[in-house]
């Protein structure tokens, strides 16, 4: 069995340890005896989506996103067909914003891929901090770090999770990320996948199921002590804060 991961424009979209997400997927496949290949695409490379099982679209600065956005127009249709056909996509931060219709920045509008019916508007002040979510996809919380000036509005789409601590999509709705077919978009880096092995395995299993069928997609469990403890550290650290805050409110009332 072999899974091919397409890393889109790592030359430009490589903020915040995106490498770690690739490393995480590759290792978790290899540890299970599944072959993994990573294809890193440059901005001028032709992309054949039919050979890809997972696509990673990372984050970049606004300037870099603008360069990428011009290229994305040319691959929009094939990217969209890949998604509609159940292709797995993990889009983070800037990549998440590019999934939508547009990203309205102070320096103009960046046209998105229009793969998911969402849009982003830049507002004053960046949302920067550790964050954790409860997703209905997994029992284990999703932890990460957010750092974004854009506020993403996901309309009627399903969010990735409910924000327990942190800001999330727009700092108001109480939700973070988006899930559409086999696409996950999120502001969480840290990087995202190593501390969230449940989410990594979810992506892997969706990709395997699509190419090799449901039977093959049942993944062997891995000894995830280090992953779970790193995840739990963030949850514990901020659960206390959430509890203390609730306690204060209770006392006030």
């Amino acid at each position: 069995m072999k899974i091919t991961i397409g890393h889109l424009f790592p030359d430009l979209l490589n903020l915040y340890g995106d490498r770690g997400n690739i490393q995480c997927m590759v290792q978790r496949l290899r540890w299970r005896g599944i072959e993994a290949e990573v294809k890193a695409f440059g901005i001028d490379d032709r992309i054949d989506f039919s050979v890809l099982d997972i696509v990673l679209l990372g984050g970049g600065s606004d300037r870099e996103q603008m360069i990428v956005c011009n290229r994305l127009k040319e691959i929009k249709d094939s990217f969209k067909a890949y998604v509609e056909n159940g292709g797995v996509v993990i889009a983070i931060c800037g990549g998440y914003q590019l999934l939508g219709k547009y990203y309205e920045t102070d320096n103009g509008r960046i046209e998105g891929l229009d793969i998911v019916d969402i849009y982003t508007v830049q507002e004053k002040g960046r949302l920067i901090n550790n964050i954790f979510l409860q997703s209905d996809l997994f029992e284990m919380p999703i932890v990460g770090f957010e750092n974004h000036g854009g506020r993403t509005h996901i309309n009627n789409n399903k969010p990735l999770g409910k924000v327990i601590y942190g800001k999330g999509n727009d700092g108001k709705s109480g939700y973070e990320g988006v899930v559409y077919k086999n696409v996950i978009g999120t502001y969480l880096h840290g990087p995202l996948l190593p501390k969230n092995p449940q989410l990594c395995d979810y992506l892997l299993s969706r990709a395997i199921e699509r190419r090799y069928g449901a039977e093959a997609s049942k993944l062997t469990p891995l000894p995830d002590k280090e992953e779970n403890e790193a995840n739990k550290y963030i949850v514990d650290r901020y659960s206390d804060k959430v509890e203390n805050f609730k306690e204060k409110i209770r006392k006030l009332i």
Binding site: D11, L12, N14, L15, Y16, G17, R19, G20, Q23, C24, Q27, S61, R63, I67, I128, N129, N130, F145, N147, H189, G190, P191, P194, K195, E226, E227, E229, A230, Y233
Partner: protein, 445 residues
């Protein structure tokens, strides 16, 4: 000094000594109070410096470069003001001048060597007008504090505009620094390492500058040192490594460093390729500003990087080297320095995520830790607030590590059970506490 300035200085000194009595560093407070009483204090005092005022900026190497320059000048019998403690924001800079004044509130100084945090340049340069700015390099740093690298470059270029007569001392191997200098309109001089030192294996280290800062095209490197540093040329717009005024050649880089500049052979008894740049930057600034360079090597022989930069300790028969590693470029350079030592060794890595460290630890995944997978590394212990993240990072390059949140326990453990050769790599807020622990242990012997 005018009356208002005198009151400012006297009050600031009083505050500093009170803080010291209460066991706290009063540097920031003293600077703040002096400024509040006499807003022009920095200009008034820096105008009293007889010869040159140098400032040192850049992502990595500020403190070492600044302290070395200061030592070189003192070695020539000069009187120098320096913010040695690394208090490099506006109040720390003001404080360095204020606390150096004599009883009549005047300065007796030939030179000033001041390191400034890049983000603080826009607050310092309106009043301080330096003769030289040494810009060591521009690398990706704590993204949650400084924002993307583009933001740092923007702040620096706006600050440089405030001091049009200041000469920039630029690392010519760094396309980001060079493009900044070219755009600034200020005069600039360059230093660089003008030969191929490493085999050109494509490593995956983040290279922010690999796209041309002038036109955005992908650049070609004929040789490449680390991060984005090397001999670069943009095939589209022709932007390229400029003429190097102070080129270093004949590089030796192993358990000691050596190179030739201006027909002088320079050697230093510490490790780390990046230290060649630090020494070269100091050499360039000093030589260009007319300092007598005869005693440079003697100074270097005596200069010990302090404040936990390649600082050496010998405790209970164990050689310990403490070093600051706070961003991918710096950490990768540290790994180079560690791996240049072929003896068996133990490693301790301390990672905190306090505000000064950056709350975001994702940069750990941009460091090439796989290179620690060699047999000469006998153990790795991970410490600090984010030791869990560090352990996980190593797991994904198939390296196992011991988890011990307390660095003191980790060090004591390796003194007892280690291979007598220990490297301690820490990020910013762990530096002073770890150094204090090591100093204390040294005293216990």
């Amino acid at each position: 000094m005018n009356l208002r300035g005198k009151i400012a200085i006297k009050t600031a000194k009083l505050v500093a000594s009170l803080c010291l009595k209460m066991g706290r560093q009063g540097v920031t407070w003293a600077g703040l109070i002096a400024r509040k009483i006499e807003p022009n204090i920095l200009k008034l005092l820096s105008d009293q410096v007889r010869e040159k005022v140098y400032i040192v900026c850049g992502t990595n190497g500020k403190t070492t470069t600044n302290n070395m320059l200061c030592t070189a000048l003192i070695n020539n019998g000069k009187k120098v003001i320096c913010n040695r403690t690394g208090s490099n924001m506006l109040n720390g800079v003001v404080s360095a001048f204020v606390l150096a004044t004599d009883k009549s509130c005047d300065l007796d100084a030939d030179y000033a060597c001041i390191e400034i945090d890049e983000a603080s340049t826009k607050r310092v340069l309106p009043t301080l007008k330096p003769d030289y700015m040494i810009l060591t390099n521009i690398f990706r740093d704590q993204l949650d504090r400084y924002g993307e690298i583009d933001i740092t470059i923007k702040i620096l270029s706006e600050s440089i505009k405030m001091a049009p007569k200041m000469t920039l001392v630029i690392n010519g191997d760094d396309p980001l620094s060079v493009s900044l200098a070219k755009r600034s309109g200020n005069s600039f001089i360059t230093y660089g390492i003008s030969e191929k030192v490493f085999d050109a294996d494509e490593n995956s280290e983040i290279r922010e500058g690999r796209f041309c800062a002038m036109c955005g095209a992908k650049m070609h490197y004929s040789y490449y040192h680390y991060s984005q540093l090397g001999d670069y040329r943009c095939p589209e717009c022709g932007f390229s490594r400029p003429h190097i005024d102070y080129p270093a050649t004949g590089i030796e880089c192993g358990d000691h460093l050596a190179f030739t500049v201006e027909n002088r052979r320079i050697s230093a008894n510490y490790k780390g390729f990046y230290n060649i740049y630090n020494i070269l930057a100091v050499y360039t600034a000093a030589a260009h500003s007319g300092v007598d360079m005869e005693g440079f090597q003697t100074m270097l022989d005596r200069f010990t990087p302090e404040n936990g930069r390649s600082e050496h300790f010998k405790i209970q028969g164990t050689d310990i080297e403490l070093n600051l590693a706070k961003n991918p470029a710096g950490f990768n350079q540290n790994i180079n320095a560690v791996m240049a030592d072929t003896r068996d060794k133990d490693i301790i890595i301390l990672i905190n995520d306090r505000d000064q460290d950056g709350n975001d630890v994702s940069w750990l995944w941009d460091v090439d830790f796989d290179r620690f997978g060699e047999d000469s590394i006998k153990s790795i212990t991970v410490c600090g607030i984010r030791c869990q993240d560090m352990r996980l990072r190593l797991k994904y390059v198939d390296i196992s590590s011991e988890l011990e949140p307390s660095v003191e326990k980790a060090i004591r453990n390796k003194l007892q059970n280690g291979v007598k050769n220990l490297y301690v790599l820490v990020n910013y807020t762990g530096l002073y506490s770890t150094r204090n622990i090591l100093k204390r242990m040294e005293g216990e012997q």
